[in-house]
Symmetry: C2
Subunit: 147 residues, 2 copies
DNA sequence: CACCAATAGTTTGTGCCCCAACTATAGCCG
DNA sequence: CGGCTATAGTTGGGGCACAAACTATTGGTG
């Protein structure tokens, strides 16, 4: 069985958009990793913090919609963020089924340090900002098409 | 604490390329899921099979380079693919440290069914093929920049 | 009021992902 | 030859992702 690489091969690894998407996502998250690590955050946790800095208080349901993540994924993740003291999880008095996730002062304060992250990532990637904007628009179209 | 959404907010969720990248990757993998499930494959397993259909035999090291995945991730994944009978893992006689991963007849045969996958995904996404090609090119640039 | 369906979170199981520590083989070099 | 270092793969730990089963509250509707 010799190497069957072929420019017209529809199963060629190099041509798979989904492969490129997966690798790109993991690669870019890897760029964030050393920047987030000193703040004690993983990338998914950072996304939750972004959502909270923008919209707190939020229910698990609402975070799940904003980040398009399963509540079953968020539940333990939020507990870890509570354990390190960045947020609080309390039942909503108006609806005891729902959780009101709010920021602690410590979580609130973290926002200032986080402001250094996006420019550091852009700088580290070294890509023209307008390329990134185009990419963002293309990804948004893909996300809309995939649902 | 009111909603602080702001079009000039550099920490706004909507503006994060990395967020879009993560969501897009998960969304597109979700499109593959029902197509791969009847073949008994997850998306990462499918990528390994693509690599093997194209280049078998391969060492773990080589698969790791092709897919940009950690050997520690691949090791159990390959064992699962061996368990379902799609591949074999044997030590390379020429270098006993190395593993020669080869396809079984069953794994080889799976390729034909897999040929239906890419067109089905493209059809399901409903995006112009040239948009996908542009996206692929943009992602390739991002991957190169991130390393 | 009592039941019943819907909704919000949690838990469990399987698999992926990275990292760090470990084992084993290989290759080099005195 | 004997030991050193490099390389290939495995293992274990922490965390993410999704699906399915489960608990608890809520809001009808008879």
């Amino acid at each position: 069985m010799s190497d069957t690489a072929d420019t017209a091969n529809p199963l060629a690894l190099e041509e798979q958009v989904c492969f490129a998407l997966s690798v790109a996502a993991r690669s870019v998250v890897a760029v964030y990793r050393p920047l987030l690590e000193p703040m004690g955050l993983t990338h998914p946790q950072y996304l939750v913090m972004l959502a909270l800095w923008q919209h707190a208080p939020l229910s698990v349901r609402r975070i799940s919609e904003l980040l398009q993540l399963d509540p079953g994924t968020l539940s333990p993740l939020l507990k870890r963020l509570e354990a390190v003291g960045y947020l609080r999880r309390e039942r909503d008095p108006g609806d005891e089924r729902s959780l009101a996730v709010t920021l602690t002062p410590s979580g609130q304060a973290l926002r200032e340090r986080a402001e250094a992250i996006p420019p550091a990532v852009v700088e580290r990637l070294g890509l023209p900002v307008e390329d990134l904007r185009d990419l963002h628009a293309a990804l948004t179209r893909v996300i809309a098409s995939a649902r």
